[in-house]
Subunit: 460 residues, 3 copies
Amino acid sequence: MTDAATNMRLKLPIICFILEVILIILFGVLVQYDSDTDARQWHNNTNSGHSDYENEFYYRYASFQDVHVMIFMGFGFLMTFLQRYGFSSVGFNFLIAAFALQWATLMQGFFHGMHGGKIHIGVESMINADFCTGAVLISFGAVLGKTSPVQLLVMAMFEVTLFAVNEYIVLSALGAKDAGGSMTIHTFGAYFGLMVTRILYRPNLDKSKHRNSSVYHSDLFAMIGTVYLWMFWPSFNSAITAHGDDQHRTAMNTYYSLAACTLSTYAMSALTAHDGKLDMVHIQNAALAGGVAVGTAGEMMLTPFGSMIVGLLAGIISVLGYKYLSPILEDKLKIQDTCGVNNLHGMPGILGAIVGAVTAAVATKAVYGEGMKDVFPDVANGDIDASYQGVRQAIALAVTLGISLLGGLIVGFILKLPVFGAPSDTICFEDSIYWEVPGEETAHVDLTIVKMEESEKLNC
Amino acid sequence: MTDAATNMRLKLPIICFILEVILIILFGVLVQYDSDTDARQWHNNTNSGHSDYENEFYYRYASFQDVHVMIFMGFGFLMTFLQRYGFSSVGFNFLIAAFALQWATLMQGFFHGMHGGKIHIGVESMINADFCTGAVLISFGAVLGKTSPVQLLVMAMFEVTLFAVNEYIVLSALGAKDAGGSMTIHTFGAYFGLMVTRILYRPNLDKSKHRNSSVYHSDLFAMIGTVYLWMFWPSFNSAITAHGDDQHRTAMNTYYSLAACTLSTYAMSALTAHDGKLDMVHIQNAALAGGVAVGTAGEMMLTPFGSMIVGLLAGIISVLGYKYLSPILEDKLKIQDTCGVNNLHGMPGILGAIVGAVTAAVATKAVYGEGMKDVFPDVANGDIDASYQGVRQAIALAVTLGISLLGGLIVGFILKLPVFGAPSDTICFEDSIYWEVPGEETAHVDLTIVKMEESEKLNC
Amino acid sequence: MTDAATNMRLKLPIICFILEVILIILFGVLVQYDSDTDARQWHNNTNSGHSDYENEFYYRYASFQDVHVMIFMGFGFLMTFLQRYGFSSVGFNFLIAAFALQWATLMQGFFHGMHGGKIHIGVESMINADFCTGAVLISFGAVLGKTSPVQLLVMAMFEVTLFAVNEYIVLSALGAKDAGGSMTIHTFGAYFGLMVTRILYRPNLDKSKHRNSSVYHSDLFAMIGTVYLWMFWPSFNSAITAHGDDQHRTAMNTYYSLAACTLSTYAMSALTAHDGKLDMVHIQNAALAGGVAVGTAGEMMLTPFGSMIVGLLAGIISVLGYKYLSPILEDKLKIQDTCGVNNLHGMPGILGAIVGAVTAAVATKAVYGEGMKDVFPDVANGDIDASYQGVRQAIALAVTLGISLLGGLIVGFILKLPVFGAPSDTICFEDSIYWEVPGEETAHVDLTIVKMEESEKLNC
């Protein structure tokens, strides 16, 4: 269908080109290779004591690629569960992620990467940019099907900026730890998105209700996303932790948390259905909550035992959220949360923040040894004691909730401007507004006709 | 459909929670970080000679993730070829793998990882747990479509235990080599599963015959699984070999074996069809046999030349098996092997064991040099000669066949207990017994209606 | 349908077995492990100064696997966009890639890997073999839907040989740089394939026009290919650059080029559609042009700023090519380019070559420092100055264009031999000529019947 309001012929090119040109100019002025990517600096005699295998690339690039797969493949395909929104799910995910990672490089650089007025970048900044993008994609899940690509780019621009502010406060100003982003990524992305979708509340969304569901094949496409997110979550949580035991331990804790979460997800999905049948929505989403919930504590000495308890709880909370809380949020609070990000990222993110605060508060030198300086440097230095680190963690959660909700409120109102081309209530969850969509029919080979044509040709 | 016998509302939650709680308790009591994941130990002064890049994580984590993709994505999607069993294929694969990897950590730890009464874990134990899970998933392939998730969890529990026993006998007691698991994973998983499906023989399975086949799209989903298994098999076979040349050589041998196997698979598939048309079943499965068949010898000095010969043979054997042997097994021996695991894992696994025994028997110091101690430590030490290592390998195959067949026999009878909720013969290969299944219909946008509604709104 | 001309029952097995037997013999005579894969050599005392982590495996294997995914998953699924050609797209991609990587090992070995009459192989040769395979798959994209698997194998055999000749001239004889293959892979593969499809021109191809298009699900399968190619392109371009800063920098430049390219692709796709709707063909293909266009300059000190400009241009050129140039090529020049490889690989490849020549010509010691010897060894040695390196790069592009076009011309005529079993014009883009194709119908569970049968059973 063609509609003047949602026609993207000028709107989308204008915003894309303006944003990209601004990005290019700012990169030209501000961004430089860091010492591990710059030819001259890496080979500089003054630090010639190093060997090539000590380049940060070999510590983190494999993790980066796993994270990259989660962002583009995982999030993109997870959202293809909608029957008529597969192109937009993968395609808009692709577009806003490609924009957000560039903008995040700048915003995160402003706040914690400036060196003599320049932003230094390398594989670690690439991972951080992908992380920030992840938060935007979580918010995308809340508004999925109800927003134009222009709205999404505007949302991404503001959200990345606020993400960087919040991340700076949490990690640098407060000195909290959050390597896997239970707070900075999941809690932030979820509550920002939930507030945006609250402001964009559509009272007549039930006119598009018949498209707000899955079909058999779309659920299988979505499982591609789920499985990738699940498999690579250990890499996500460990991607920017300290070298050595820290990366190793974080990956392992996440692995066991996810495994336990999967069992509790299946259990709860069957238990909460009147006929005991499993619900794909739970499997696709709640089984991932175990990764979210160890995003803060994964690098700590949580032990596999502790990780499994956290994962078990995360799966239970998440399924209960999908089953009982989401309908209440929609009916009572007018929060239309398409993908249920409150259940996958919001509540498990808060759980993760609490687990992180508790685990930090009970850290002891006896357990961490010299490794304390990697995980809690201020505790290792003697500047603070462990229980105060726990307090920092708790404050960081409160700050994250505040900034995300307030940010979502403001950005939600900005997104209401009619110029951004949002679809009308009757035509949500539908690719054909923004995409050329081919039919579903398959050209069946009519063998008789083909044979007849062949015969005719031979006869000629 | 709803049926009291297959209703999972209580059965599945009960078994999931009981198993997970037992796992958590045992992890709490028995499991500890190893020296590469523990903060205190890694930073301990006494072994401070090491650098972070020497942490086992950097040697093996990328391989682990490739194996992880094979287990969850590869096996899961390979089995989606069935037209109405995609949710169960991916979903039950996910469930039993998540359980099996936790249980395998304990079982394998009991048999070869105890240190002062504790099981020490790290990336290598994670890979081994995934490997053990692979064997369970192979057995799952034999019974695919005919078992409830509760049956599968029970099967996994017993199979993991027996796997660990067999692995201990083969690798530790006998001193055989089997880095890629031709024997311990593929032969074991296949013959265990074949015996289970024999015991669970369903004389009236033809009542579900119309669903025991693929459709166009389901074959494409299955190819995702195939391609992932094929691509990452070099990582699978090399994941736990010794550092350096061993990992490198194993990956390369596997790469060439698979390439050769692919050509012989296509050749045999066309040759055995009366009209020369390729059969997706062969491409999806037989092309992988080359990876199975160098699972034992891949780490040895097999050479790419030798690997290619093995791959060529594996592809031929596997296609012939699908074409001629599987129908005989079903008709004469009453073995209903849904995925044809005998052809992909069973016979190629035995071939791999034989190739391993022969390659070991002809190993010489002239060829291996100082590298002999990595591959055949007992031969390098002078404890035994190479031909005796070959004998060990052959005994290991016999032991594996014996334990897997006997184990499958016993477990098959256990699984017959009606309480586990197996589907009836008329409703096998069908997702809707255990899953909420959406329709296939796509909500087509009726533009006329939408436009009319829009107009009405404007008129109001 | 069955047709004597296209029946592969003997043709395909004969060519597969002959090729594989020749490969095995040549591998047996010529191929040896290199010093990083050979047990004896790696452990040899004379070079015992090294540690296991210095094995080339750890520098490159993760990149190799990413490239491997691009070749088998990326290219294979990218081409599944056709509604009735998914089996062939993934399946023939699989077959010719498995052959080409073996043949490429030999051909590339002949030209730049002989050591005392032997070809030494390891992870770097595996990457190079996959790269060469990539060029063949690009050509496959031009002829997709119109060729038999036998034609494709014959094409692969000749193309790999010519690829190795061209690569030798460009990299070794001329001393040009092309780590990501803008010239040697993309330009070569594209213009070779375009010339082949020109020679194989089918005036009556419109008889198959109704199948030369996508359906909804086939476009989603194709997006799997697109997203994988996009995500792993940084690994592709950096896979064989020098250790350390070079791999690191190349990956990062590619990451930013692709991100910028994605924004310009979306912008141009909307801008060139009369109703502003995005076209999946553009998103699936043009968004990747940014990776192609930094294939040569990616390892140089291009800066993220420069990379983004190149990516922006590549996306614009590519979409314009799909929109306006492809129809002209087909109508005026009789070039039927199924996948539009001119737009994704051809023109962006030439752009990449030009960017590489310019970037090389302006290289200075002040920017590269000691790192100059990794990127431009002859400039670092003082043998030539940077501007002359730029000239080398330009000559390399001309040579590549010449060899690819001439090679495509000759090979095109060879492929016209009727014995190879090409499909007739009425039955192009159709799986069922070469594959057993199942129906699309899904066996719906008739609950009434099932229940009746169940009841009967109980009554008995």
